[in-house]
Assembly symmetry: D2
Homo-oligomer: 132 residues x 4
Amino acid sequence: MAKKFSFTVKVYYEDTDSGGVVYYANYLKYLERARSEAIYTCGFTNSSILEKFGVLLIVKSCNIEYKKPAKLEEILEITSEIKSFTKTSFLMKQTISRDNEIISDAEVHLVSVDKNGKPSKIPDDLKIKLEN
Amino acid sequence: MAKKFSFTVKVYYEDTDSGGVVYYANYLKYLERARSEAIYTCGFTNSSILEKFGVLLIVKSCNIEYKKPAKLEEILEITSEIKSFTKTSFLMKQTISRDNEIISDAEVHLVSVDKNGKPSKIPDDLKIKLEN
Amino acid sequence: MAKKFSFTVKVYYEDTDSGGVVYYANYLKYLERARSEAIYTCGFTNSSILEKFGVLLIVKSCNIEYKKPAKLEEILEITSEIKSFTKTSFLMKQTISRDNEIISDAEVHLVSVDKNGKPSKIPDDLKIKLEN
Amino acid sequence: MAKKFSFTVKVYYEDTDSGGVVYYANYLKYLERARSEAIYTCGFTNSSILEKFGVLLIVKSCNIEYKKPAKLEEILEITSEIKSFTKTSFLMKQTISRDNEIISDAEVHLVSVDKNGKPSKIPDDLKIKLEN
């Protein structure tokens, strides 16, 4: 069974738009924060991965579905779970929930790249921690 | 043949991140600006659509692929083209190009909703202008 | 002695720019989150203040000084302290610190306004909690 | 008489918040775009200044006053004018107007710094163009 990472955010004014709900692009910020926190849970940071292994994890694609809007001062829970790996990439399923109801979900394809942007093997130490 | 809308943006500091490229969520801002400009080209605004017809166009899903990174002070062209309509929604293909090379493309599913968030018929006047 | 509110943020990619540091406008997001959290500490939310008392707290002016840059994945502490009140407004001193060193500070002038944007008495219940 | 730079922005959803107006931090984005455009008008870019002269212009302080709110789909004009120079810094007055009425103004203190963040002489070629 895949490891599931969980992270909580609160909606502030900066996240909302004049429609009275969270602006659609800002959900991707929540997803990125949650991925960064998953990396911290594994004992790494984006900076330490770059320094130690010479790689960055970049987003290759993001497919997000908006089911219900989120509003100011709500508390949202983001879950992140890796569905599959290749040598240089992985597919992550992320959900955004409010009161245990999924209001948005996303599939995010991440690639490990070197400093020149070329796909590069996901460091074993990181892969192990992301899996177990 | 579908009508194609075109819009140009410049990359400012606010759009970039410490990786030296445009932050992945910010491409969705460009896409939204381009969709708003397409609506203006049709003789409407988001506000006037709401006022006249009582509907808002909201994003139901967005599937974006990042092919190449954009950088500070680059000029990007966004094209927007409707691929298909239902009574209450439409699917838009959007591309982001630099020097005639597509660096990102997206499929965005938009739904016309009333003030209570219920799907509502796309106003005929708007549909006609979006199509021709 | 004035009550001092404290709040912690982490720097994510979304906050940084291609200069490798937190983008200057984004510090104002941290300040606003800290002010909202101060209100929560007092037992209110922006929404509940609007609902109960019919007022909003809006920023009239902000004077921010940038002393040192913040970087990706740093932890910053925001303190917020009210320096003075008028009937309808108050002046808040806010600082942003890293490892107990102030890297930025700001004076923010907030005004209580009604739904029409007219200055309106700060609700007593809120004022008492902000002070003690 | 000081040279005055002018730049126009449109308010998109991304700029607004659930209060129905432009979020207070986002005015600083408009100011920064206008400063970057002033630099372009002078025949430079932020990147070319860094490359040619080895300096960056960073914001040391920003004092902004919010007079009236801006709303979705409004057109705003930003003016930028340098009030005074030191060897390594300058003070800029910027205004944000709608229909020739100033809705916000700001004083922004900018410093020329080298790659280590140390104050560095403003390049003569740039200074001349900013002045005349």
